[in-house]
Symmetry: C2
Subunit: 274 residues, 2 copies
């Protein structure tokens, strides 16, 4: 495959509480990547390419996703966040920089708040407190509609390109090739449908306490055209924590690191090298 | 004196190109502070208090100001910026974190652009490209009106409290007690009137190239109620460099680090610990 993620070794890591599938590259201090709902670790290939010269980069299939364990229940913020803590302890390389998109952003900030000794800082991409109810309802509908069988990878590509109209074709292909596996009726998502439904519901929980109380540095990133984090939600988050730096990426929608990897990479550099 | 700046040793440092008066504290990597026009190193006492446990903190009287040398000419951005480079080389402790307010912000970003090997990062407080002509005209008028004699320190306090209505009384007193000295006709500013006029004029020079080309991380801070950096100037700067993190401090005017030291300190921590 020509995908950049194919350069990274896949490994299953038993953290004691769950076994997680990860992609690993580079060397140096630990930088972990956590994807959004229904995605998997492969989406972070371009960011791993940028940081593997200085960091041990580990992109994680979070619980219920990709080739990681998929328990029947346990898809709240603390379940995901405590997986992050257990992974850092198992790797024995903390404190780690956490880069999270959407669900992964929520999980990373929650982990930093609950386990500050294991986290150096968080890059929190396009997920904040104060996201509106109707936004969550729309997200749940999109997530649940993904539970279907596809004739082949090209059918998956067509579906994803329609679902994510601003994500460039190479990044769509990474999602299509990494996130689906043969089943009796065709290609089906690796992500568990039940886990996705529970996870989407869990995203509605109040995130204000985690943002209010987190003591580690958090870079708040938002796509200027995001339909998930509204300008109003960002403004309220800024009022809650005016000391946290903000980067709004012009021309980006919710999928900031896939639509605008270059600005994302530069913004992360400017934060971690500050 | 009860002022926090009185805890820091004053020292004159010959950089080879100019002798600068500084206040020094702490130990560890180098963090330098550069004040705004007509001010001096004493204004950074509260920030030095916050960072001297981890950094060698050095607040600088910039050329023409305080007890530093005051050449007849040479008050452009590169004159100030090359002083910063010479100071870091003389101290032999680079690369340094530069924290600059207003004039000091302009000088710090210019130094980082011209001498990236000497600078780790910049905290650029309330000075950006795209400041409007009428804002500079108003600033020049205020600066030039400061060239007067005062009967005593209380008269200076009254004058400064009127000029800076949002700066708290203790910070006004620091300015009054540190920035004036007896002359034939009363207390006069330590800052050279001719140097101030030239410096105010020099602030109008185009700052776009420095911001466009700087490769070191810059945290852009603005007071939400700043009359110097308008919301429009900040937005244009963001369009120029969307990868640079931004902190807008609620309730702060131009004098962000004096009106809101706590948020300023936390924002700096979140940037340098990222």
């Amino acid at each position: 495959m020509a995908d950049s993620q194919s350069r990274y070794e896949e490994r299953r890591i038993d953290t004691g509480r769950i076994t997680l599938n990860v992609r690993i590259g580079g060397s140096g201090p630990l930088m972990l990547f956590f994807h959004g709902i229904t995605a998997n670790s492969a989406v972070f290939g371009p960011l791993m390419d940028a940081f593997s010269d200085r960091f041990t980069t580990v992109a994680v299939d979070q619980r219920g996703h990709g080739r990681s364990d998929k328990p029947e229940t346990g898809y709240e913020a603390i379940d995901y966040a405590d997986d992050i803590a257990a992974l850092i302890k198992t790797l024995d390389m903390g404190p780690a920089i956490l880069v999270g998109h959407s669900l992964g952003s929520r999980n990373s900030v929650t982990a930093a708040q609950r386990h500050p000794e294991l986290v150096r800082s968080v890059v929190a991409i396009d997920f904040t407190p104060y996201i509106e109810d109707e936004v969550f309802a729309s997200l749940s509908a999109r997530v649940n509609a993904g539970d279907q069988a596809f004739a082949d990878t090209e059918a998956v590509v067509a579906y994803l390109a329609n679902r994510y109209p601003n994500i460039p074709a190479p990044a769509i292909r990474i999602r299509a090739e990494s996130g689906y596996a043969p089943a009796a009726d065709g290609l089906r998502p690796l992500a568990s449908a039940s886990a996705m439904a529970q996870t989407a519901e869990g995203l509605r929980a109040d995130l204000v306490p985690a943002y209010r109380d987190v003591t580690r540095p958090v870079l708040i990133m938002r796509g200027a055209d995001s339909k998930l984090v509204s300008a109003a939600a960002l403004e309220k988050t800024h009022e809650l924590r005016p000391d946290l730096p903000i980067v709004v990426v012009p021309g980006a929608d919710h999928y900031v690191n896939e639509t605008n990897p270059d600005v994302t990479i530069n913004a992360i550099r400017n934060f971690i090298d500050g």
